[in-house]
């Protein structure tokens, strides 16, 4: 039996009176590339924000399974309104923070690119590698090497090695993503398509188990999109990833995904293999409108 890496159960998110996501349940198998599609405003990005802990759930729960046993990564806020419930929410309710979830092994890219704009391409990825080094704050206050040389002081050899490992990892990732030659450029000066790739590189720096891609091909031309398709498959195999992808390029989705979940107005519309989805009259109607 295959492991279910991510399981969403009855996931609901309401903003005031508006139900952005209503009663969505699905699970993703290990190693799968799972597509999440739907018209604009269907709640796809909201689901990403719920999985990564940016929003708290209104109802339902989300489990993440790295191997042994499922971990509850997001749970519903059980408190209602009122003064004492507010107090409880402030002091008792402890949902997992986005950073905790990222550390567990779920990382993401953003639909409206969120790079560290003023940093170089290299620094963007180097920063994201931070979990691979373990040195603490106090030790980081001190110089580790003889000034103007590369010779570490004996007591700081371990830290220097860790920092070197971070740099090596950054180099590997940038080369893999074809960004090595742009390493000195400011992230905001990169062309759009490469910025999206840089976001993927940054997300991979944490050695995730599950990678969430939010419209990675937006703004890319057809050749670039095709190259991206191969790249996603390549990184999936290389890093043993499971991928959840939101995308509007139907070519990409149909050729890439093993299974697809279709959302419409925050609700379930269809789920299945690309071939099933392509022929599904409801899906066609949601995308193209009903024929008179």
């Amino acid at each position: 039996m295959t492991t279910k890496v991510l399981t969403l159960e009855n996931v609901t998110k309401r903003f005031g009176g508006l139900t952005a996501v209503g009663d969505v349940s699905f699970s993703i198998n290990e190693g799968e590339i799972f597509g999440l599609i739907g018209p604009n405003g269907a709640g796809k990005t909201t689901i990403f924000n719920l999985i990564t802990g940016v929003y708290t759930l209104t109802e339902g729960n989300i489990h993440f399974n790295k191997g042994e046993k499922p971990i509850l990564v997001a749970k519903a806020d059980p408190y209602g309104t009122g003064f004492f419930n507010d107090l409880k929410r402030r002091f008792v309710f402890r949902p997992k923070k986005p950073s905790d979830i990222a550390e567990l092994g779920i990382t993401r890219t953003f639909q409206n690119i969120r790079l560290f704009k003023k940093l170089s391409v290299y620094e963007n990825v180097l920063t994201a590698c931070h979990r691979s080094a373990k040195y603490g704050v106090l030790v980081s206050l001190l110089p580790w090497k003889l000034p103007y040389t590369n010779i570490p002081y004996p007591m700081f050899r371990k830290q220097v090695k860790q920092e070197e490992a971070l740099n090596a990892k950054t180099e590997d990732l940038l080369k893999l993503m074809g960004l090595w030659e742009y390493r000195a450029m400011k992230a905001s000066n990169l062309p759009y398509g490469l910025q999206r790739k840089l976001e993927i590189a940054r997300a991979l720096a944490l050695d995730p188990k599950l990678l969430l891609l939010d419209e990675p091909a937006a703004g890319m031309n057809p050749e670039e999109t095709l190259a991206l398709l191969d790249l996603i498959k390549e990184i999936r195999d290389k890093f043993n990833l499971t991928v959840l992808i939101i995308e509007h390029h139907m070519d990409l989705v149909m050729n890439l995904c093993d299974r697809i979940y279709v959302l419409n107005f925050g609700k379930f519309l269809a789920e299945g293999k690309p071939s099933d989805i392509q022929g599904n009259p409801q899906v066609i109607e949601a995308y193209l409108g009903k024929e008179e």
């Binding site: 560290f116 704009k117 979990r131 704050v137 971070l166 000066n189 062309p191 759009y192 490469l194 940054r202």
Partner: protein
């Protein structure tokens, strides 16, 4: 210029550098803005002065203790506000700075509004610069470590920082605590240089003056902050007759810097002997070498 006079200004520069280094970390590298650092300076000053005058502690432990108490205070402010979205932190520091001053004004143990006098004169040039050099070294290497990079990531894009596993609250707190420690030590050194302190010295204006030094020097640059501090500490000495207009010019300068050159004088670039040599040898060529013919199209 008499050496005695110059020495005095250099000591003041050193004390200001201490406070500004902390603020540089907080504002320039982590992207948080505080109106309350005069409050942390006040805590450092009053704690250390009480320790040396009332309990006869030696100078250095008293200064460090002053810094540590200021840091403890920062945990309260930060713990309450740094995990909230919005300008809560800013407003809380504003209230904090004023509250500290008001409390000191009313506590007679510390002399009330008259403050404390006959504090031993201990902040010699050597003592102050010993603190400054250690402070610069610590800050310099902290910024270059993974922890420093994480703080910069928070400044650049908080959501993305969370998404790559950075505990935003923890790093903001770390940055605030470190800056409070530096401000506390700066305040303690100040008290032992002037030999008297009173609550009016730690008004909101003091906080903003320190922040201005960071901004003029350049957000995100330690050497910039140091250069900015020296520049703005010496400048008023040269133009004493225009003392009233000094702050007017500062205010206008801050607006102009933000509108025209937000990176400040040095803006994110650090001075280092190595860098200067490199700059001289490759000047002119360096820019071309860096920009790899980018592919056309796309926007940020």
């Amino acid at each position: 210029m008499a050496w005695y006079y110059l020495e005095g200004i250099l000591i003041l520069c050193g004390i200001n550098v201490m406070v500004v280094l902390g603020l540089s970390l907080l504002t320039g590298f982590t992207g948080l803005f505080s109106f309350g650092h005069a409050g942390f300076m006040a805590i450092g000053a009053y704690v250390s002065a009480s320790l040396t005058t009332m309990l006869h502690w030696p100078f250095i432990p008293a200064v460090v203790a002053g810094g540590l108490v200021a840091m403890l205070m920062s945990f309260i402010i930060g713990g309450l506000t740094l995990n909230l979205k919005g300008d809560y932190f800013c407003i809380a520091t504003l209230g904090f700075g004023e509250a500290i001053r008001l409390i000191l004004n009313n506590v007679q143990t510390f002399g009330g509004a008259r403050g404390m006098a006959s504090i031993p004169l201990k902040s010699s040039l050597v003592a102050v610069y010993a603190f400054v050099i250690i402070g610069v070294i610590f800050m310099w290497f902290l910024i270059r470590s993974r922890h420093g990079r994480n703080m910069v990531a928070i400044r650049e894009e908080e959501l993305a920082a969370q998404a790559i596993g950075i505990n935003v609250f923890r790093y903001k707190m770390l940055s605030l605590a470190a800056s409070a420690l530096y401000a506390g030590i700066g305040g303690a050194l100040w008290a032992h240089y002037l030999t008297f302190i009173n609550p009016a010295m730690f008004m909101l204006t003091k906080s903003t003056e320190m922040t201005i030094m960071v901004i003029i020097g350049g957000l995100g640059s330690i050497t910039g902050s140091i250069v900015g501090t020296f520049f703005l500490t010496f400048l008023p000495e040269a133009f004493r007759e225009f003392a009233d207009w000094r702050m007017v010019v500062y205010g206008a300068a801050v607006i102009a810097v933000m509108a025209l050159r937000p990176q400040g004088l040095l803006g994110g670039i650090e001075f280092s002997p190595k860098g200067i040599i490199k700059w001289i040898t490759t000047s002119g060529k360096s820019k071309k070498a860096q920009v790899k013919t980018p592919v056309e199209g796309g926007k940020a």
